[in-house]
């Protein structure tokens, strides 16, 4: 492609890249779904309905379904509400800038690490109770109260919210510039509307159109999360997704059909929830219209809402950050008995003992992340360049396909994909895991890089072409170098997505590929907080390293280019200002 001038062949190849990329996303998901569902309908002599009968016979089924629905819906509604409230009531304030700086990096933290941190914090023997004991509570032993793993899924829902708010916040901030928010708000304010009311009535309608797919992804994820539910979720019974994993790995081998039947139920549940959500969107729309028609201004609602938003924002960020600090402290702790708020001593024993293992596992994790992200970045750049050169436009259908791997529950298609990769004789090592990671990494890399790539000032290309540069040369010498910051940011996003993957690494790797995330989740069942802390911390450090590189390298490269540095400042999250 570097000398793409040379051939029509190269150009037509480039033209096909978007189609091939979408196939890369679509085919594994579809094939995996079919592979998963095959055992549900019996293979060979097995009874078609036996699998569903055994599923129906499980006493926890109703509760597990209810838990999956409730924790997913509640987490999604609250995450969305918190995000919108933050943006609506605080946008353009110093407080918002502070919150954004606090929350944005949290997006990079794997769900498992966030859950482990939260567990350390809210457990009856956790940091919050320790900090208050015994002086305020009188407790000298951890209280016998059920907080973690509560049967109602409350701690699981809390954990999901702390992770989904940063995600939705960043998606909102990325979509906001396309909604003409500033002018709409100016008009609403001049008509006397309160800030929150003005936002809901004028900005939310166009904004939500952009946010719809991310919200669906959050809903599907929250309903089917495995690693967070394993750490924070109920156990009597667990959520449906966790129970599917238990069945798939049951030693009696008789539950594979049950697992497949349950995966089908899980898929139907997610589809039903998405349809229900879609329906609710109409009601919400009607409600917003009614509110607009009422003519009320709600100006006095702003101060309390603002206060509430600040409180909630800092609680969400605070929970996550304090939990992660807790991980770090435990990994250095010597004897740390209840109710001491801090360890009696700090040492390096945990890190020294698990150092070699940690280093090796981190190496494998990084290799997978770089392979998957490298491929994803290449494909995404080729897609975007093809889009630009051939005037292609990504329609709504393409966007849906892009979101497909994020919306179809992993638990529904990965087991089938595992069977297929085995049947194809694929060596289930690092390359196979990286290939499946690609399916999840690519959409995020695209979402991260797309806006910046499209926003690049076309005048540079015109100037380059006028000086005789080929399209390929314009891409390699002008566009790519100028987009160094956004590209590196997209890569860092990709790395963080890859590092966080649990099920793909576990199932496709066949247990032989150990990543920081599979190790952290495996260890979390053992309760050794020091080693869990060390793995959780590493899990968090690796993506942070990616973002640090994405921030530092452009500043280094562009140290003699004042204009580029200004661009960096204007769009530090990867969006070049226009």
């Amino acid at each position: 492609m570097k000398h793409g001038q040379g051939g029509l062949g190269g150009a037509s190849l480039l033209r096909q890249v978007p189609r091939v990329t979408l196939l890369l996303l679509f085919v594994p998901v579809l094939a995996g779904l079919l592979g998963t569902l095959a055992p549900a309908f019996g293979t060979g002599e097995a009874d078609w309905w036996a699998a569903f009968d055994s599923l129906a016979a499980w006493p926890g089924l109703r509760r597990a379904i209810a838990l999956s629905l409730a924790s997913g819906l509640v987490a999604t509604v609250l995450s969305l509400a918190i995000t919108l409230l933050l943006v609506a009531s605080l946008a353009d304030t110093a407080m918002f800038a502070a919150l954004r700086r606090l929350l944005s990096p949290l997006l990079a933290i794997p769900h498992a690490a966030a859950a482990l941190g939260l567990a350390f914090l809210i457990a009856p023997s956790g940091w919050i109770v320790r900090a208050l004991s015994p002086w305020a509570t009188g407790w000298t032993a951890p209280p016998d109260v059920l907080i973690l793993n509560d049967p109602w899924g409350a701690s699981l829902t809390l954990g999901l919210i702390t992770k989904e708010v940063p995600f939705l916040l960043l998606m909102t901030l990325a979509s906001l510039p396309q909604t003409d928010a500033a002018r709409r708000m100016a008009i609403a304010t001049s008509l006397g509307y309160g800030q929150v009311a003005g936002f809901v009535l004028c900005v939310l309608p166009p904004l939500y159109r952009q946010l719809r797919l991310p919200v669906y992804a959050v809903l599907a994820y929250a309903m089917t999360a495995v690693e967070m539910a394993m750490i924070l979720g109920p156990t009597l019974p667990p959520t449906l997704a966790v129970q599917i994993i238990h069945w798939m790995t049951d030693p009696s081998l008789a539950h594979r059909g049950t697992a497949a039947a349950a995966a089908l139920v899980q898929l139907v549940l997610v589809v039903a929830a998405l349809l229900g959500w879609h329906l609710a969107e109409r009601f919400a729309r009607a409600a917003v219209l009614r509110a607009a028609g009422s003519g009320r201004r709600w100006a006095r609602a702003d101060p309390p809402l603002r206060l509430f938003a600040v409180a909630v924002g800092f609680v969400v960020a605070g929970l996550l950050i304090t939990g992660l600090i807790g991980l770090a402290v435990w990994s250095f702790a010597g004897l740390w008995q209840f109710p001491a708020a801090l360890p009696a001593s700090l040492n390096l024993t945990t890190w020294m003992k698990s150092g070699p293992d940690l280093a090796r596992t981190a190496g494998v994790t990084a290799a997978i992340a770089l392979l998957a992200t490298g491929a994803a970045a290449g494909l995404v750049l080729a897609c975007l360049e093809a889009e630009h050169r051939f005037g292609l436009t990504a329609d709504q259908r393409a966007l849906w396909l892009l979101y497909l791997p994020l919306i179809v529950p992993q638990i529904a298609f990965l087991p089938g994909l595992q069977r297929l990769t085995l049947a194809l004789g694929a060596e289930n090592g690092v390359p196979a895991v990286a290939a499946v990671h690609l399916v999840f990494v690519l959409p995020y890399v695209f979402l991260s890089l797309g806006p910046a790539f499209r926003a690049w000032d076309g005048h540079f290309a015109v100037a380059g072409a006028a000086l005789g540069a080929t399209p390929a040369k314009v891409f390699w010498r002008l566009r790519l170098p100028m987009l160094l910051g956004p590209v590196l940011t997209a890569v860092a996003v990709g790395v963080s997505v890859s590092v966080a993957q649990y099920l793909p690494s576990l199932l496709i790797g066949g247990g032989r590929v150990e990543t920081l995330t599979t190790e952290a989740v495996a260890l979390s069942s053992g309760g050794n907080r020091r080693i869990i802390g060390a793995y959780g911390l590493m899990q968090m450090l690796l993506p942070s390293l990616g973002f640090a590189v994405a921030l530092a390298v452009p500043r280094l490269v562009f140290r003699h280019r004042a204009g580029m540095r200004a661009d960096l400042r204007a769009g530090s999250s990867g969006r070049t200002a226009r």
Partner: protein, 403 residues
């Protein structure tokens, strides 16, 4: 049938297995030669760093002595490895499988043996097999009443012990009735890992031994006609203590380490372990209060052996057999029994050891919380696997959905 499948599958060195142990004894050198340079993927539960460290040590020894590397595949549950082999078989992968060696026993072994997923018999052909205490520790050849028939090789003995903190429990209850009374008198201070977890089910079986009219029936496959009546006293016992359990029975720790952590956090006063040396080892490591001690119930507690088995399609079969043999080496066994390392009971017959090897065991300081071998009392044989599976499933039916 196993034999035929096996004949079809085996190649090279392993072919010798068909011809019986005599050829094996001569061909052990051939096995060692074939093993040299192999990397054995040992799938073992990875939730305990001390066990992981021990496996790493065995790996270093194997490499130094035989040029065999060990790569521990750390599992959240042994069933993950079983599922892997099942998936490989379903996919028609009859050689070059990902799993070379599995730490296994009980229902996983029963399931794999029955499904023809194991390579063997190989255990009797290992040079160190002659040191194993078959007579004194019948559990090394009878895994949950299933005859091992050489399809797995033992490497450690375990026996259920109770752990308690002297500081909060001055006099531990040494009868089942006493334990029940203690649990009810101390609400929230006792729990057991959530069945179907291994240790949790063992606790159920221990209770069953104590409350059943005819515990001998446990050595036979369960009889549907009498099952309900036979286990009724077990549910009566559990019903009585359930509301007095930790978290009022609304949640259970996931497994043995999670339970141990509750004892270390002083959330519970009495805990259980399948490793009589666990408490001492944890105290030595600074993870557990120095006031913790252990006790067993009058009438004995359940004991069993841990084994390693080789899947039918293992890619590095020779290496796996070398590791299985190395695990029976007296020096390795003595190291495993050292409370500072693992504190696992040896499977070897002390009388069969040479003086140097025996001295290694005699020199061990078992630790402050470990019962002397004589004080461990009678070791009860594991019930037939059908009981294990059934009471685990019934437990989930009764208590698996919190009220």
């Amino acid at each position: 049938m196993n034999r035929r499948r096996f004949g079809q599958l085996t190649t090279g060195v392993a072919l010798a297995a068909v011809f019986g142990s005599k050829v094996w004894a001569e061909d052990w050198q051939a096995t060692l030669d074939a093993a040299k340079g192999q990397t054995v993927y040992w799938h073992a539960w990875g939730g305990d760093t001390k066990i992981n460290d021990f496996i790493a040590y065995v790996g270093a020894e194997a490499e130094a002595r035989y040029g065999v590397k060990i790569e521990q595949v750390k599992l959240a549950s042994t069933a993950d490895a079983v599922a892997r082999v099942v998936a490989e078989k379903a996919a028609g992968q009859t050689a070059g499988g990902a799993v070379d060696l599995i730490w296994i026993n009980g229902e996983n072994f029963a399931a794999m043996k029955q499904a023809g997923l194991l390579f063997g018999p190989f255990a009797e052909a290992l040079p160190n097999w002659r040191l194993v205490d078959k007579a004194g520790k019948p559990a090394v050849i009878s895994d949950f009443t299933i005859a091992t028939e050489g399809f797995e090789s033992p490497w450690a003995m375990a026996q259920l012990v109770f752990e308690y903190d002297q500081a909060t429990v001055p006099v531990p209850p040494v009868t089942l009735a006493g334990l029940q009374a203690w649990i009810i008198a101390n609400p929230g201070r006792f729990t057991y890992p959530q069945p179907p977890d291994y240790l949790g089910v063992t606790f159920l079986k221990q209770v069953l031994y104590g409350v059943m009219q005819e515990p001998e029936a446990l050595q036979q496959p369960l009889d549907e006609a009498t099952y309900e009546a036979a286990v009724a006293p077990l549910w009566a016992f559990l019903d009585a203590v359930h509301p007095s359990l930790w978290r009022a029975g609304q949640a259970f720790p996931a497994n043995e380490p999670a339970l141990g952590q509750l004892l270390a956090d002083a959330e519970i006063g009495i805990s259980l372990s399948f490793n009589p040396g666990r408490a001492s080892a944890e105290i030595a490591a600074g993870n557990l209060q120095a006031t913790v001690r252990s006790f067993v119930l009058e009438g004995g507690t359940i004991g069993n052996a841990s084994f390693v088995a080789i899947p039918f399609n293992a890619a590095h079969r020779a290496g796996a057999m070398v590791v299985a043999d190395l695990l029976l080496d007296p020096a390795i066994q003595a190291r495993a029994q050292d409370p500072a390392v693992l504190g696992f009971l040896t499977v070897l017959d002390q009388a069969a050891l040479d003086p140097v090897a025996k001295a290694r065991f005699d020199g061990l300081d078992l630790g402050v919380a470990t019962l002397a071998p004589a004080a461990l009392g009678r070791s009860l044989l594991e019930p037939h696997a059908s009981w294990t599976a059934r009471i685990a499933a019934d437990w989930v039916g009764r208590y698996g959905v919190a009220q």
